[in-house]
Amino acid sequence: MTALSSTPEQMVAEPKLVGRPDVNRQRLARMGWAFTAPALLVIAAVTIFPIVYSVVMSFNNVTVTGNGFSLDGFTFSNYNLLIHASLWRDALYFTLYYTLITVVVELIIGTCIALVLERLAAGRGWMMALLLIPWSMITVINAELWAYIYNGTYGVADYILNGLGLGSPVILGTPTPAIIGLMIADIWKTTPFVAIIVLAGLVMLPSDVYEAAEMDGASGWYTFWHVTLPLLRPTIALAVMFRVLQAFGLFDLPYVMTGGGPGTATQSLAILAYNALFKNLSFGPGAAVATSTALLVLLGCLATLRVFRAQVGQEGS
């Protein structure tokens, strides 16, 4: 009796209403917009102007001066520059596979943690509080902490690796170890995000389904794979979607730990945008990087929704 399943016969019906169905429907719809309006107003008031302005800037030659931005001439030249710039392509590839790897790893580890936590009888509160501490650290501080750990001469990671006989690799100075180092720092900090979302979803699953499966003699693994996971699909889709969103905006970690180096190995799209906007004061190309990134992430999120078949628009309509 849950709305989470994706099979058609379990799609929920409209609530039984008293009175003429048409009028009630309209009344409810109006009420719905009334409920939604305050949130939408706040969002629109703050975000519409900056986002529209940013997109407009990406299609213009922008000069930043002390008197403001001067936009002259609609042009595709910023995007043209982007597409032909190897730096942008490299940043895109790096951001893409960084996102892919970190999200997959966090999904797996986070779901495992959520499953464990759900079965934990005593101490769940403590574990949740502990879990959320890495997540609640300021991203720049997290980056400083890991930069300190990875330091080539007085970092503890170097000390441990030396002790294990693995030599003294300069973690942040070599491309692949630097990327792995960034990923570890990111995974440490944001796996709790996935874990808590999945845990909240797990906790809200009805237990009658489990009782039914148990009565049928299903094993733990079978139950998990064929009962729990499908029910969790919308929740996992949500977690994945927002993690993809955040991972694409990777900025603080490379900014503090490697500055986009060594070379340009860890230069993400957000760092490219930041450099273009605020280091070189070239707002046209910077806005183009930002807008194209937003577009790509949007497509990625929609694809995620499609992959998980979480039927967003069909429930309750």
């Binding site: 629109a44 008197n67 070599t174 491309p175 180096g261 060594p262 190309p285």
Partner: protein, 460 residues
């Protein structure tokens, strides 16, 4: 049918109207912002005979932390001394981030947004061209008499000039020095190296003798500081980064390849740890100050940082020596030191230019410069203060200052950030061994040429 769809459509119509209204407002706002207001700072304005200063008012000063905290904060001490002399002026300090790029981002956002505060700001010595080109700073040469600039040490005012106008008033100067462990050199019977080759072999000797963990530490991370280090080696080898008009880069020269090859050889020979490719000033300082390196290339603060416990220094004064940087064998002594430091700029939208000028002039007066030098160890920009015996005696580094030769970074172009990025990214790649020095020099040349040739490539 129609009944069911009417309210929905009505709502959608209303929603559509609302969206159109918002979009219209956005377009109006965009066009309003893009119309230029009154333009200030004409390029051909001449300097006045005297500065139009004011002695009452209140201004906001944006400055990143220098040194000291609480009551000992250098900026607070300066403000207090200034307000004591000018009781009718109030200066409010706004603390800017320590990271210079973040600092610039905030200032650019505020000033381009038309904010009249901060009235004055302390900015990096490499900002005048960029800020001048984007009209983010007031050309000081239009509001200060020409005689004002004669008090500064040679080269500093030139570095703050862009297209004939001076944008910054030098506040304090910085340069690169060679720091060494007097005790280790003495125990090994070595004298202070005067050539890079000598330094390299000394460093290797000391590391092999087991007396110190690392030989020579410097700043090799992929950031602005690497451009500073590289400029020193490049100028020592007789090269230069661009032509004087900043229209073409000369980074693929024999001197450039020699410089990069030497920097890489420091790592491969064992003179410097491989980790130096991730070192900024703080990491190099911690390594030397913790007693784990024999030689250090760093700015002038390093002497006190190495000998002060609260800064992480474990060394004593008798263990730390200062000398000018070495140069390559066969070149004239001493080696070149890169110029650093900070200037004072005025916000073009400031409403208190008179008070700003009073503050800036006071900051370059002996009263303020003495505080910066004697109390906090910053190198003064004013010649008379630099040469005074009392200042020279206050810090061993100051005794070395007159003997150094200076080389600036190629910051006289508004494209400097992209140029610097081209330099440090490629040099860092060569240091890490990802590319050969000649390939790195070629890549650097092509990236730099792109940077110099277009005004708005954004570093792409």
């Amino acid at each position: 049918m129609s009944r069911r769809s009417a309210p929905g459509k009505g709502l959608q119509r209303r929603g559509g109207l609302a969206l159109a209204a918002v979009a219209g407002a956005a377009v109006l706002a965009v066009s309003a912002c893009s119309s230029s207001g009154s333009s200030s700072g004409g390029g051909s304005a001449s300097a006045p005979a005297t500065a139009a200063t004011a002695t009452s008012g209140s201004i906001v000063w944006s400055a990143s932390p220098l040194t000291g905290t609480g009551a000992n904060d250098a900026r607070t001490v300066l403000i207090n001394a200034f307000e004591k002399q000018y009781p009718n002026i109030k200066v409010t300090l706004v603390s800017a981030p320590t990271d210079t790029d973040t600092n610039r981002a905030t200032l650019a956002t505020e000033i381009s947004g038309g904010s009249s505060t901060p009235d004055v700001f302390m900015g990096d010595v490499i900002w005048p061209a960029q800020f001048g080109a984007h009209q983010l700073a007031l050309p000081l040469s239009t509001v200060l008499p020409a005689s004002y600039w004669s008090r500064f040490a040679p080269g500093l005012v030139q570095g703050a000039t862009y297209k004939g106008q001076v944008y910054g008033s030098p506040l304090f100067e910085d340069q690169g020095f060679l720091y060494y462990r007097k005790d280790l050199l003495a125990a090994a019977g070595l004298s202070v190296p005067t050539t890079w080759e000598q330094l390299e072999s000394d460093a290797v000797t000391l590391v092999h003798s087991g007396k110190v963990k690392y030989g020579f530490v410097w700043q090799g991370d992929s950031y602005e500081g690497l451009t500073c280090n590289y400029m020193e080696y490049l100028t020592d080898a007789g090269g230069s980064p661009t032509n004087s008009a900043y229209t073409s880069a000369t980074l693929n020269s024999a001197a450039s390849i020699k410089a990069i090859t030497f920097m890489r050889s420091l790592i491969t020979s064992g003179a410097s740890p491989a980790a130096v490719t991730t070192f900024q000033e703080a990491q190099a300082m911690n390594t030397f100050g913790g007693g784990n390196a024999a030689f250090l290339r760093n700015w002038d603060y390093a002497y006190s940082a190495a000998t002060t416990a609260s800064s992480g220094g474990k060394l004593t004064a008798s263990q730390v020596g200062v000398a000018p940087l070495p140069t390559f064998a066969g070149e004239s002594q001493p080696g070149y030191s890169n110029i650093g430091g900070w200037n004072m700029y005025i916000n073009p939208h400031s409403k208190n230019v008179g008070v700003d000028l009073t503050f800036i002039q006071w900051l370059s007066s002996p009263a303020a410069q003495d505080i910066l030098s004697e109390r906090y160890g910053f190198i003064s920009t004013v010649t008379s203060v630099r040469n005074s015996a009392a200042v020279k005696a206050s810090n061993p580094v100051f005794a070395v200052v007159p003997t150094t030769r200076l080389t600036p970074r190629p910051a006289g172009t508004a494209q400097y950030p992209a140029l610097s990025t081209a330099i440090y990214q490629n040099v860092n790649g060569a240091l890490a061994g990802s590319t050969s020095p000649s390939a790195a020099a070629a890549a650097m040349q092509s990236a730099a040429s792109t940077a110099l040739s277009s005004t708005s490539s954004g570093g792409l």
